[in-house]
Structures are given as structure tokens and as C-alpha cells.
């Protein structure tokens, strides 16, 4: 369709056209994304190749000091009169060598086997027992990860040391003098300000996000079951993933995984769409023309958002308790004073599951109302006008304009919420804690979703860290795929500027 043809369409047709285009472009966008990913990987390796080439050519072109700084950090800088930087570089090398000799080297040596010495109780010649400390695989793995991270950082410093040496060599050849400490310090407040600002956050994120993450990913390939006495564990390759996905033998872990994954999917779909649809309806009612007290209604719902979620969820779990819960008490009033003792959260599996979904509506609908209200006010009024002139009834206007518009605009939000619900730990954990128990499952109950199962496996009675990490990785793969779809869509939507 050409631009002129597009401009001749009426708003409704334009909308239908864009709507179709959006979904038609979805596969294309996806394939573009993966192509981009491939290209990025290629660029990455090309970059590495270039790095090696530079590494070689610099060595050939460099004078003796530059060549020396391939082995002694900071030699080039020192020779060219940039003393403080040369000393800093050299200090890094000394510290790293000391670190590797006294600490890191041993960890790297033990990494492939994850330790082999068992803790032993021996008797000395007088008959007293003493304990010989064995290797602790968990510690070895953590320290080895730390060593690897440190090595990568030092390698980056090494490369920058060489680059700096060569830069100063070129500067001297051009008759320039290296800058002093004062000028360099000033530069960190201006031209290199990003280094000043980012170094602290990046350091923190590396220690408390990236290091644990690498550690947990590595754990997924071990048989660490978290038992306190079993401090030695081994690499097992893909066995944890095999256990999770092994449907052929109908093993207990695989059965649990697919059972829970199924319920997680049902839960995510039900929770997302119930919130979405009911929230949309309420938002429409509040925003309808002629309804007064809009502010009051909105405030009522906003207040329920503002109360900390754990308070409202713990409260709900108490209200719905089996024997002394207020809701059962309320039911007793309609039941002739006899308390029915309905066990909403731990009795029949499907009662518990339904209750969780309904309570989640109570928690989640106000959020939907809040976000929907803003979008509803933005629907162009001329869409409705032209529909009215064409003789559309209010119902038709709703089903043909409002609903498609809302779905179109809020699709990314919907996927975000879907991902959020897959990870919705609080609602399940604080309401039911996974109950009712399922004897067929491995360490899980009927209302457990993948992330609460992960929690049970790492914090509950029967621990299995390896399995837990494998689940974490699978959840990441699912969520990352969905998030990438959103990312692509929102981008394509920005480009197309539909509805503007």
C-alpha cells in the first residue's frame, strides 16, 4: 500500500491495517532480532581478532620500553616520564602475582576436581581424636569464580597498559610531553567523568550481582545438594537439566517439573488475563462519562496498592484461614451459625489454586486500573465520532474501537505482566506457601510455581542446589525470550507510530 492510499483510509480502516501489519511483522521482527544477534556475535569475534592483531603489531613497532611493558606492567609509562601511572600499573601486577601465588592458583588447580580431600577424623598416638579439614567444594567454586573475575579485570588493565605505553611512545616521537597527575585528575571530572561515576556502581554490581550469578550458573552443572555434611561435590555436566526434562523414565523430578511448569503456565495466563480484563472493565466504568466521584473511586483503589504487599497478603492468608479465619466466620453467618471450616488455602488442590488466582485479582486489579485510566483518556475522540456518524451503537463502538485499541497499546504491558507473574513469588509464598502438599512431587505442593519450587529446593527441607540453579536458568531462558519479544515489538511500534 502506498502512502497516498494509506492517507485515504478512514481511521477505522487505518487501525485495522496497522493492527494486521503489527502481527504480520512479528515473525519478521523476531528473525531480524536473531540475525542481529548473530551479527553481534560475529562482530565480537572479529573484534577479538583485531585485538590480537593490534597486540602483535604494537609489539613489533614498540621501542624497548613498550616491549618491556608486555612483561612488566607500566614499564613504558615509567620510561616516558609518567611515573605515577607506571607505578600504579606495576603495583597491579605485583598484587596480582601475589594473589595468584598465595590464593588464586590453588583455587584454579582445584577447580576441575572441585576438591578431593574428605574431612577426616584421625587418632593421634595418645588416642585423642582430631579433625583434618578437607576441601570445601562450595568455597573452591566461589573462590575460583572470584579468581576468574579478578583475572579478567587484570587482563583488561594489562591491555590498557600496553596501549598506554604505545600511546606515550607515539607522543614522545611527536615531541609531546605526558600530562601530569593534576591534569589527569581534572580529566576524571570532565572528559573521563563516566569512569568516575560508573566505577562504584559497577564494582558493587560485579560483587553482588555478577559474581553470584556466575557462581549459580556453575552450580547448575554440579551435584551440590546442600547437605551440610556433604561438602565435597562434583561436576556432573548436564545431568540436572537431564533430570528435569527426562520424561521417558517418568522420574520424580521430571514429573514435578512438568507438573509445576504446567501450573505455572496456567497461573500466569489466568492471573494476567483476569487482572487485565477485570481491571479494564473497572477502569472503563470509572472513566465513563457522567460518572461522578471519579477521584474518590480511584483513591480507594490506589490505597490498596499503597499498602505494602506483604501486609495485604499475610492479612488475606489469615482471613482465609481454615478454622479461625474471618471469611469462614462470615460464611457461618449465612450458614445458620455453623462454621463450614472451608480450607481455602490448603485443602482441595483446585480450591487452593482458584483462591490464589482470585486473591491475586484483589491484589493486582488496582494496578491495572491505574495504568489503564491513563491510556483510556488518550484514545482519539475522532475515532468515536466517525463511528457514531456511521451509525455504530455504543456496544459496537466498544468492541470495534476501545477493545482493539487497548489490546494494541497494552500488548507489551501484557507480556511484561505475564513475565512478572511467572516470577510472582510473593503471592504464592505468602498465601499458601505451596500447599496443599503433593506426595507425587519432589519437594513441592500443588500451588507451587517454578520460582517457589526453586526456593524450596534451596531453602526447604530437602535441598538440591544444582537442580534449583538449573530451574533458575530455564526460567531465565523463558523470561528472556518473552522480554526480547517485547523489546522488539515496542521498538517496531515506535518506528511505525501507529495511532499517532
Amino acid at each position: 500500500m502506498t502512502y497516498v492510499e494509506y492517507k485515504q483510509l478512514n481511521p477505522l480502516q487505518r487501525f485495522a491495517f496497522n493492527f494486521k501489519k503489527f502481527f504480520k511483522n512479528l515473525p519478521g521482527a523476531l528473525s531480524r532480532f536473531f540475525k542481529g544477534l548473530g551479527l553481534a556475535i560475529v562482530h565480537f569475534f572479529v573484534g577479538i581478532g583485531k585485538g590480537f592483531k593490534n597486540y602483535g603489531t604494537t609489539f613489533v613497532k614498540g621501542d624497548w620500553a613498550t616491549k618491556l611493558s608486555y612483561f612488566v606492567f607500566g614499564a613504558g609509562d615509567f620510561h616516558k616520564g609518567k611515573y605515577y601511572k607506571g607505578i600504579l600499573f606495576f603495583l597491579v601486577e605485583v598484587l596480582y602475582v601475589l594473589f595468584m601465588v598465595f590464593f588464586g592458583g590453588k583455587q584454579m588447580y582445584l577447580l576441575p576436581s572441585l576438591g578431593f580431600l574428605k574431612q577426616q577424623q584421625l587418632e593421634d598416638e595418645y588416642g585423642d581424636t582430631y579433625v583434618v579439614q578437607g576441601h570445601n567444594s562450595m568455597q573452591i567454586l566461589l573462590y575460583a569464580t572470584l579468581t576468574i573475575v579478578v583475572t579478567i579485570v587484570v587482563f583488561a588493565i594489562y591491555i590498557s597498559n600496553i596501549k598506554d605505553a604505545y600511546r606515550h611512545q607515539v607522543m614522545r616521537a611527536n615531541g609531546e610531553k605526558p600530562t601530569g597527575l593534576k591534569e589527569d585528575a581534572k580529566e576524571f571530572l570532565d572528559g573521563k567523568y563516566h569512569i568516575t561515576l560508573l566505577s562504584f556502581p559497577i564494582l558493587m554490581i560485579s560483587i553482588f550481582n555478577i559474581l553470584p550469578l556466575i557462581f549459580m550458573i556453575l552450580i547448575a552443572f554440579t551435584n551440590y545438594d546442600g547437605d551440610k555434611h556433604n561438602v565435597l561435590f562434583d561436576w556432573v555436566g548436564m545431568q540436572n537439566f537431564g533430570n528435569l526434562l527426562n520424561v521417558i523414565d517418568n522420574a520424580r523430578k521430571a514429573r514435578t517439573f512438568f507438573g509445576i511448569a504446567g501450573w505455572t503456565l496456567i497461573w500466569a495466563v489466568a492471573a494476567t488475563f483476569s487482572n487485565y480484563i477485570l481491571g479494564l472493565i473497572v477502569a472503563l466504568m470509572i472513566n465513563k462519562k457522567g460518572i461522578k466521584l471519579k477521584g474518590v473511586f480511584r483513591t480507594m483503589f490506589v490505597i490498596t496498592i499503597a499498602v505494602p504487599q506483604f501486609v495485604s497478603l499475610l492479612l488475606m492468608s489469615q482471613i482465609l484461614a481454615e478454622h479461625d479465619g474471618a471469611f469462614n466466620m462470615l460464611l457461618a453467618h449465612f450458614n445458620g451459625g455453623v462454621n463450614p471450616h472451608v480450607n481455602f488455602l490448603g485443602g482441595q488442590p483446585w480450591v487452593a489454586r482458584l483462591t490464589v488466582i482470585i486473591v491475586n485479582c484483589w491484589v493486582g486489579i488496582p494496578y491495572t486500573i491505574l495504568s489503564m485510566s491513563g491510556i483510556l483518556m488518550n484514545i482519539p475522540e475522532d475515532l468515536y465520532e466517525s463511528a457514531r456518524i456511521d451509525g455504530a451503537s455504543p456496544v459496537q463502538a466498544f468492541t470495534k474501537i476501545t477493545l482493539p485499541y487497548m489490546i494494541f497499546v497494552t500488548t507489551p504491558q501484557l507480556i511484561t505482566q505475564f513475565v512478572g507473574n511467572i516470577n510472582n513469588f510473593n503471592v504464592i509464598f505468602l498465601l499458601t506457601g505451596g500447599k496443599p502438599d503433593n506426595a507425587n512431587y519432589f519437594n513441592a505442593g500443588y500451588t507451587d510455581i517454578l520460582v517457589t519450587w526453586l526456593y524450596n529446593l534451596s531453602m526447604g527441607q530437602e535441598k538440591d542446589y544444582g537442580l534449583a540453579s538449573a530451574i533458575g536458568i530455564l526460567v531465565f531462558v523463558i523470561c528472556a525470550t518473552l522480554s526480547l519479544i517485547i523489546y522488539n515489538n515496542s521498538k517496531s511500534m515506535k518506528d511505525e507510530e501507529a495511532f499517532s
Binding site: 567523568y193 484483589w362 533458575g472
Partner: protein, 292 residues
């Protein structure tokens, strides 16, 4: 014709008012229950066959803050004032650190241009996709090795360290501040450092307040991380895990009333802060829109 139209519209609106009214009641009722029963006199877990409390008292609040319990048989091992103070300290410390790092990171990504900017932003996006508590076990061992296990410092570290990853909203705000301001300042000889502190920050009050409030509220409402780190150290609990402990099977008969009172004590300030933050958030976003 007109009359019937008016009538129909009136009827429809009436039905809508009715539905909205009922819904408001459903939504507010549990909280009304919470507040009413936190003032209830008798000590049993929940009313004996009645829903509305019959006598009111401040006793539960007094017990909560004095650390005594109405049931003499049980030792008062749960001490709410201490938890409240813990949470306040942790929230204040992590609020300062995370606000600073969020603002620094978002300013850098919004205003400064350097080689690996895009790469770093992509890494941040990917890190955000991992389920959060997958790393908690590792964090637990990391803190154990550092010797910080079960201490309040470790909570501050955990809450504030990852904060730099949540830069998107404030970066969006910084993006809307016209670059002409930066350029003018640069011509006048200002460094990037001066631009950040003297020009961008003073203009970003809504987003600064928003960041401060979100990072302050975080520790009050976080549950899972505190639980993993604190374990059985009652003294270092925050209010969230403390309140959950109160309705644990072993404590519920004694502490149920205090749980309700404690929930009110926590919920009221957080609710007020949230409503304030809401205003600033909306202001920040719309102000950005107008300027952009």
C-alpha cells in the same frame, strides 16, 4: 424519546455506581478488618463466632511497643520496636547509597558518550532478566565468607548494590532535559562534574524524590532476601519477616493481635509515602513530556 434515553442512561449509571460501590467495599473491607481488629480487646486468635470486635483497646499497640505479651506463658521473644529500628536504619542507609548510584548511572547513560555505553546498557538489561533470588543462595554464602552473615550491614549491601541496574526511569527523565543547557554550561567553562551537580540535579527534583522514596520503601516491603540472610536471628529481623514470624504456627495464638497492630503501624507510613511518591512520579513523567 429523549426522556427514555435519559432514563436509560440514568439506569446504566446507577448500575455502575452500584458495582463500583460494591467493589470499593470488597477492596477496602480487609483493611477495615485489619484496623478494627488491631484494637480488639480479647486475646484469642480470631473472634469466637463474631466478626466485629465487641470491645476496643489500645492494649495491642502498647504490648507491641513495650515487647510484652498478653499471654504470660510465652516468653516475649519477638520484639517489634527493635525490628522497626532495624528497618529504619537499613532503609535510611540503603536509600542514600542506592539513590546516589541510580542517579550517577542514569546521568552517565543519558548524558555522557563513551565507547562501551551501549554494551553496558545491554548487559544491565540481560542481568535484569534473571530471576532475582536465583542469586540469593550465592549471596548468602558470599556474605557468610565475608563474615557479614545475619548482620544489618549485609542487608544494606544487598539492597543498595544492585540499585544501579534500575536506572531506566530516571534516565528517561534526564533524557528530556534539553541538551542546550549542557552546551551552554560547557561554553561557560563548566566541567561535566559541575553540570551534573549544579545544573541537572537541581532541575530533577521530582525524579530525585521519586528515587529516594522508592529506595526507602524497598527494605520495608522486601521479604525474601531478608529472610534468607537473617535466618533465626530474631534481633536483626526487619518488620516484614518479623510480622510473618508473629503468625507462625508457634506464635500465632499469642501474637495474632500484635501482628494486626504491627501491620497497621507499618502500613500507615508506607501508604502515605507511596501516595506522595505517586504524585512526584506523575509530575516527573508529565513534566518530562512537556519539556521534551
Amino acid at each position: 424519546m429523549i426522556k427514555s434515553y435519559k432514563f436509560r442512561r440514568g439506569l446504566a449509571n446507577g448500575i455502575i455506581y452500584l458495582i463500583l460501590g460494591v467493589m470499593c467495599i470488597i477492596w477496602v473491607l480487609p483493611f477495615a478488618y485489619l484496623v478494627l481488629h488491631s484494637f480488639r480487646l480479647d486475646g484469642a486468635p480470631v473472634g469466637n463466632g463474631y466478626i466485629l470486635p465487641r470491645q476496643f483497646t489500645f492494649r495491642n499497640y502498647i504490648d507491641l511497643f513495650s515487647g510484652t505479651s498478653s499471654n504470660a506463658d510465652v516468653q516475649a521473644s519477638l520484639y517489634f520496636p527493635r525490628w522497626f529500628l532495624n528497618t529504619l536504619v537499613v532503609a535510611a542507609c540503603s536509600c542514600v547509597i542506592s539513590t546516589l548510584s541510580v542517579l550517577m548511572v542514569s546521568y552517565t547513560f543519558s548524558r555522557l558518550r563513551f565507547g562501551i555505553r551501549k554494551t553496558l546498557m545491554n548487559i544491565a538489561m540481560i542481568l535484569g532478566m534473571f530471576p532475582g533470588f536465583m542469586t540469593m543462595i550465592a549471596m548468602y554464602y558470599l556474605l557468610k565468607i565475608m563474615g557479614l552473615n545475619g548482620q544489618l550491614v549485609s542487608l544494606v549491601l544487598c539492597y543498595s548494590c544492585g540499585a544501579g541496574l534500575g536506572f531506566q526511569i530516571s534516565k528517561g527523565f534526564f533524557d528530556t532535559i534539553p541538551r542546550a543547557l549542557d552546551e551552554a554550561a560547557t561554553i561557560d567553562g563548566a566541567t561535566k562534574n559541575q553540570i551534573f551537580w549544579k545544573i541537572i540535579l537541581p532541575m530533577s527534583k521530582p525524579i530525585v524524590v521519586y528515587t529516594v522514596l522508592t529506595s526507602f520503601i524497598g527494605p520495608w516491603t522486601d521479604f525474601i532476601l531478608a529472610k534468607i540472610i537473617m535466618g533465626d536471628k530474631f534481633n536483626n529481623y526487619t518488620v516484614a519477616i518479623g510480622l510473618q514470624k508473629m503468625i507462625d504456627i508457634n506464635f500465632k495464638t499469642t501474637y495474632y493481635q500484635q501482628f494486626l497492630a504491627g501491620s497497621v503501624v507499618v502500613a500507615v507510613p508506607i501508604t502515605l509515602l507511596f501516595l506522595k511518591m505517586q504524585k512526584y512520579y506523575v509530575e516527573g513523567v508529565t513534566a518530562g513530556g512537556v519539556k521534551g
